[in-house]
């Protein structure tokens, strides 16, 4: 079965005034229809770059290598016309900070209808009707259609963004920190909505956030990025409860479980800061901050290792050897 989204050894290097910035250094992942993947990481890890790369929204001059297959077609090799068709109809993005992603001088229904008109999916009157349908599906009352973005609250604006992302019925939706700026209750509402829509329509969802606990609760699989690479991935429950990579452990420690007495008056954080992509430490890029680093970590980088389903890029993880077939009757 063709995967809804497949990324194969993606590498992205920005060309800036300060030289080259390797934001993504080899990311591979695969998502089938209806699957949900959480992509976790902090500033500078490259997760938003991956999202932008899927729709080729990177600044001109950026060097991109690898393959990104949306519904089986390589986005990176497409001609501009085909790419325009894929943008929004194949894959769409829900951005963070809807306040900035929405045009303040256009009414919201018109903005939701815009992708439909651009893709020629519907004529003008039809598009407006479909926009109102979408608004109702995301929980916005129909009378809000003629409102401007500033008349809506943060949660409502984010719902507008979701409606826009759904407009052309894409196969893949990428939610880039879509709920980070919202209050917890609104965030819970929006996450419930996203989960329902994704399940109903069989969309493949990539959810990007720095909050590991939210991702573990919303997505079935979890991948953690650090310094442009995936350092751990696996079923979300397992990765969150028993992280194998020390960075994942630190990230999950940053969001304490309320009710766990061990976390009372015991805040745990990492020393140092997320690394600068232009000046990555040698060997394993995490080693300067790693509480369990070995001497070899400073010189030898580690690839993802472990089983088929669950891997971590840490020398302390035992690679699982495939078990030899048991002879019959043994």
């Amino acid at each position: 079965m063709t995967a809804a989204l497949e990324i194969d050894e993606l590498a992205v290097t920005y060309r800036g005034s300060r030289g080259e910035i390797p934001a993504v250094r080899g990311v591979s992942l695969r998502l089938d229809a209806g699957e949900t993947l959480g992509l976790a990481g902090e500033s500078g890890c490259g997760k938003s770059t991956v999202a932008a790369a899927v729709l080729r929204l990177l600044p001109p001059g950026t060097h991109v290598s690898g393959r990104i297959l949306v519904g089986g077609d390589d986005v990176l090799a497409m001609a501009p016309a085909a790419l325009r068709a894929v943008r929004w109809a194949g894959a769409s993005i829900v951005f963070q900070g809807a306040m900035h992603a929405l045009n303040p001088v256009h009414r919201v229904a018109r903005q939701i209808a815009e992708p439909l008109l651009v893709h020629g999916t519907a004529a003008k009157g039809d598009a407006e009707r479909r926009a109102i349908e979408l608004m109702e599906q995301v929980g916005l009352p129909a009378w809000r259609a003629r409102s401007y973005p500033h008349q809506l609250s943060g949660g409502q604006r984010q719902r507008v963004m979701i409606a826009m992302a759904l407009a052309c019925s894409p196969q893949v939706i990428i939610a880039d920190e879509a709920t980070t700026a919202l209050d917890v209750m609104i965030q819970a509402q929006v996450l419930t909505l996203i989960k329902r829509l994704v399940a109903e329509r069989g969309i493949a969802l990539v959810m990007i956030s720095h909050d590991l606990s939210v991702l573990a609760a919303t997505c079935s699989r979890l991948a953690v990025m650090y310094a442009g690479r995936i350092v751990e991935h696996g079923p979300s429950g397992d990765v969150f409860a028993t992280p194998q990579h020390p960075y994942t452990k630190a990230l999950s420690d940053a969001f304490p479980t309320v009710g766990d007495p061990a976390e009372r008056r015991n805040p745990r954080g990492l020393a140092g800061d997320p690394p600068d992509p232009t000046a990555l430490p040698g060997g394993c890029p995490f080693h300067p901050r790693c509480p369990v680093a070995l001497e070899s970590c400073a010189t030898s980088p580690v690839e993802l290792r472990g089983g088929d389903d669950r891997q971590a890029a840490c020398v302390l993880v035992e690679p699982v050897r495939p078990r030899p077939r048991q002879p019959e009757g043994a």
Binding site: E42, S43, S153, G155, D183, V184, M185, I186, Q187, A188, Q189, T192, H210, D211, L212, S213, V214, A216, A217, T218, Y247, A250, L251, D253, A254, F255, P256, T257, V258, G259, P261, E263, R264, R265, N266, P267, R268, G269, L270, A271, D273, P274, R289
Partner: protein, 350 residues
């Protein structure tokens, strides 16, 4: 009172239950006129106490008035009614009285990049407080020594290395430490931190929070942490006051309130945390703004206990809709107060 786990006990922490509170809000109301003639009741009757050496979390969602309350406790806002007391004395609003208050109660803001003037070096930023108050010499040493001590206490070592750096040369965590050092240099007794780690990377938060705890343990510094993040409160706070639409709806020790919340709003907030067991109670809609506070219990239009018949079961639904609740008053020690007709009736029965 529950014996606190984790880092060691100190005499002052036990004394906190016995001596009077160091910072208090008594019946504080803060009202703002809005364009259109309506009045926004940002803080609508709050009684909050902070004991010596205590860490109090004021939690709630945006619009609940927690930031306004914090600013009022700092003297940056003047209450429309009610009194702010420091060590029992009512706060005066003359320039001199406020200046004296500022030495005792200091502020740490949310966004460290915005909180530091980009043209000032770290040294200037930390020394600013000293220069404003004309502090030099004495037991703390001269200005340079005091700045070095404050930077070292905030975890920036060796402090001299940072004297001539500018904020844009530092990381987010380091900037926040500079802001904290700037507050520490005045040797305050209370720190009010407004979302101290919200702008920082997740892996760096723990360090700043650990710093706040360390300052409490080493210097006896009391703190009010304003946050929407219940996990943060669980991590470092002793007590928590949950606010909704300008009022405190639940006030008690963190170990009680976040484990067994009594108020329906707190219950809902705790239940939607990803790590909470059981089904999340997702409230519909959003809190109304401060110009249109509902009558009766201000939470009743969104209350799942009322909607689900829990209030009818104890015959209190009418009260929920029509009777406003008394202001929650912290009664000292490990008391746990709730502003809810149903919850109070249930407790009274026990």
């Amino acid at each position: 009172m529950l014996a606190p786990s984790g880092l060691g006990r100190s005499a002052w922490r036990e004394a906190a239950t016995v001596t009077s509170p160091i910072l208090q809000a008594e019946g504080v109301h803060v009202r703002f006129p809005t364009p259109g003639g309506r009045v926004a009741r940002a803080v609508d009757g709050v009684d909050v106490d902070l004991g010596t050496g205590e860490i109090l979390a004021i939690a709630g969602e945006s619009g609940c008035g927690k930031t306004t309350l914090a600013r009022t406790l700092l003297g940056l806002e003047r209450p429309s009614a009610g009194v702010v007391r420091f060590r029992g004395e009512a706060l005066g609003y003359s320039t001199r009285a406020l200046k004296a208050h500022r030495r005792a109660v200091q502020l740490v803001l949310q966004d460290p990049s915005g909180a530091l003037n980009p043209r000032h070096t770290v040294y200037d930023a930390v020394a600013e407080g000293l220069r404003i108050h004309g502090i030099h010499g004495g037991s703390g040493g001269d200005e340079r020594q005091r700045v070095a001590t404050a930077l070292a206490r905030a975890g920036l070592r060796p402090p001299e290395r940072f004297f001539l750096t500018y904020p844009h040369e530092l990381s987010g965590g380091q900037r926040q430490r500079v802001v904290i050092a700037g507050a520490l240099v005045l040797e305050p007794q209370v720190i009010v931190a407004d979302e101290p780690v919200a702008s920082l990377d997740a892996s760096v938060r723990g360090e700043i929070l650990a710093l706040l705890l360390q300052l409490r343990d080493e210097l006896g510094l009391a703190a009010i942490v304003v946050t929407h993040d219940l996990g943060l409160a669980w991590n470092i706070a002793d007590r928590i006051a949950v606010m909704y639409l300008g009022r405190v709806v639940e006030d008690g020790p963190v170990d009680n309130v976040l484990v067994a919340p009594h108020h329906p709003y707190t219950q809902a907030l705790v239940s939607v945390l990803p790590s909470s067991p059981g089904a999340p109670i997702v409230l519909s809609g959003e809190p109304p703004d401060a110009t249109q506070i509902p009558g009766g219990c201000r939470f009743h239009p969104r209350c799942h206990v009322l909607a689900g018949g829990g209030a009818d079961a104890v015959g209190l639904a009418q009260r929920c809709r029509h009777d406003d609740l008394l202001i929650v008053r912290h009664a000292g020690g490990g008391s746990h107060e709730v502003a809810c007709h149903v919850a109070n009736a249930v407790t009274a029965e026990r």
